[in-house]
Amino acid sequence: MPFCRFVPCSCKAIGPGVEIWNQAPRTGLVLCHRATVGCICGRLKVRGLALLKRMLQRGLTGAALVALAACYVPADPEGTTEDVTGSTLRVGLLTPELDPLEDEVVARLAGALQAEVEVVTGDPHQLFDQLTHGALHILAGQIPSDTPFADHAALSDPLGVVMTYDGEADWVLLLRRGENRFLVTANRAIKGAGR
């Protein structure tokens, strides 16, 4: 190897002052006699580049997998989004009529899922029961975030604030728990309606 320089250096394995001789070609083991430091550095650089290339490849594969997963994540365990898409969005109403803002959110959500809107009124407990069993998809009607139903339903992002007995609370929609894709779609509809 004509380009190799012989450089004296210390060898930790034996002690200072001993020169490193050569690097075994296949194993990469350093034999502790005299050094061909130039060669070793050259090999390390090549190895470093190969390693970097491999890491980049793996990183890109990982990123592609995450991007692919992002299309499916989050999913609805009970398939609410799938039920509603191209079908009917069933809204339970706790007040005599839908507030204009709630109406806009519901229309946007239905539009995003190409669904018709069906508004159902009735006894609050029955409506809530239907929501938890998937017969209704959303409960609306100036619901405060501290509603007693909050422990058993998913709360949307706030539409604004409502007055309660204790003061003010976030104004939310109630959805079936764990239907995360549907919740994300509803939250995006709320964000769009606010503009």
Binding site: A69, Y72, V73, P74, L155, D157, N180, L183
Partner: protein, 299 residues
């Protein structure tokens, strides 16, 4: 009561103290990040509580170090070596209790079929699913403890510090908690509602197991049991080592060893009335060798 521990041990203790201060700093940042990313995920909640609990051992270690070196007082004539033992017992109890509670809570979630709700969040103008934020927070929560844990473990072995060892062990195993949490959150993302509670259950089983093991070791110490190993309730080899040395020096006599913090006290039970005081033992952990007259055998 200050004893002359070898310089090497003293240096390692000081280094451990510095590492514990760093641990507290990183843990506080982790607790804050996890709190904001927690949402309603059971696995995240469990991982967050575990991170909060991990603050206890570093704090107890630093407190025990402060107390350990205090001079005896009239009210505490034997000094404060057992401060460490008490701290270890408290840490172990809280770990076991919390592990039990979290296991119950995740089992209940599974039985009640509680579907975890994870919505979206706007971060730097991007609308992303909160689950991804949780995954990033969980990855962050794992890195500093695992590095610090690996740095603390050899120090704990050298200084025979149980609080430090428990802390290092919990930290080094933190990647398991993180991984379980990540699998749980991503599982929920793919629509497996039970993944979250199962992950939380696995994390809490780990916490409970650590808690019970440490509780056994600390109870042994508080009840003047024979010195135990750092990582199990088995008797430490120092017991046989010192008993054999003393048996050679004083044939037919028996030695009793007990632990006070990192130090060991030896009681030579002699059954003759030979008043020669026992000689010192060459081991930095042994700070006291006393003798008493007693029965020959121990049942």
């Amino acid at each position: 009561m200050k004893y002359d521990v070898p310089d090497e041990i003293e240096r390692k203790l000081r280094r451990a103290q510095r590492l514990e201060w760093w641990s507290i700093f990183w843990l506080v940042t982790i607790i804050a990040v996890m709190y904001f990313a927690m949402g309603s995920s059971q696995a995240m909640k469990t991982a967050w509580i575990e991170d909060t609990l991990s603050l206890l051992p570093p704090i107890l270690f630093l407190l025990a170090r402060k107390f350990e070196e205090k001079e005896p007082t009239r009210k505490y004539p034997f000094g404060f070596h057992r401060g460490g033992s008490l701290g270890f017992f408290l840490a172990a109890s809280s770990l076991a209790a919390m592990g039990g509670y979290l296991l119950f809570s995740s089992a209940r979630s599974l039985m009640m079929q509680e579907h975890p709700t994870i919505g979206n969040v706007t971060l730097f103008g991007w609308d992303i699913w909160l689950g991804w934020v949780m995954v990033v927070a969980l990855i962050y929560s794992v890195i500093p403890p695992v590095i610090l844990g690996r740095m603390k473990k050899p120090l704990a072995r050298a200084t025979m510090d149980k609080i430090l060892y428990t802390d290092a062990d919990m930290n080094a195993a933190d990647w398991k908690t993180g991984l379980a949490g990540i699998v749980g959150v991503i599982g929920v993302g793919f629509g497996f509602w039970w993944a979250d509670a199962v992950a939380a259950g696995l994390i809490s089983l780990d916490i409970l197991r650590d808690g019970i093991r440490n509780l056994r070791i600390s109870v042994a110490e508080l009840l003047d049991g024979a010195p135990r190993k750092l990582d199990s309730a088995e008797v430490h080899p120092i017991v046989d080592e010192i008993s054999d040395t003393l048996a050679r020096r004083y044939p037919g006599h028996r030695a009793r060893l007990r632990e006070t913090g990192r130090f060991v006290r030896v009681d030579l039970v002699r059954h003759d009335e030979d008043a020669t005081p026992p000689e010192a033992i060459d081991n930095w952990r042994v700070v006291e060798v006393t003798q008493e007259l007693g029965d020959k055998d121990l049942s």
